[in-house]
Subunit: 114 residues, 2 copies
């Protein structure tokens, strides 16, 4: 194998609905499906009083995580997938759900030349 997996570090700025835990779960699941991943486990935690959400999906092909700071309109996501999945396919779902002003995507090839 040339690398173990593609890891996208995705930061959303000026985003909305970052306290909507149901929307977040639906969005992450839809992104995982579209990317071709298999969801093994999902857990989301809703923080009080700010309404922030931390959540993870464990995938057969690695994981997706999200941490939101609604008061700063900021969210940090990781979409890490090995195999034939394409993690980039999750990004349009983030755009549609949270309407960020800006999305920063940093791609890391984990385990290169492993």
């Amino acid at each position: 194998i040339r690398y173990a997996g593609t890891h996208l570090l995705i930061d959303l700025w000026g985003a909305s609905k970052l306290d909507d835990i149901n929307l977040i779960e639906r969005t992450l699941r839809a992104g995982a499906d579209e990317a071709g991943a298999t969801i093994l486990h999902c857990h989301l935690h809703h923080f009080e009083p700010n309404g922030g959400v931390s959540g993870v999906l464990v995938l057969a092909e690695s994981h997706i995580s999200i941490h939101t700071w609604p008061e700063a309109s900021f969210a940090a996501l990781d979409v890490f997938m090995c195999g034939d999945c394409d993690p980039h396919k999750a990004i349009p779902f983030l755009q549609d759900a949270f309407s960020p002003n800006r999305i920063d995507v940093d791609e890391q090839l984990r385990g290169k030349d492993v």
Copy 2:
């Protein structure tokens, strides 16, 4: 806040015991504790037949994840913590548990100037 959290991308090379799910759970929990984090949720999945493990700890201060490829003696971890936690303090536990020949650590400040 100057940034939302410190995210360490940690790759272990030439590592052993990467199929030992109990050791992995103990190691991640010990690292989280030492870093000053609060564990909210833990889930690990054991893959067959290669014995690889994918796992996540959801923290009050973000998350820790691990994916192991025992057949390649390779593991990819993320230790992402906000607040007063020091994610670097988890690294010696990885060294002790898995005896890697090499550890690569990439530090990303997520949400800088958020």
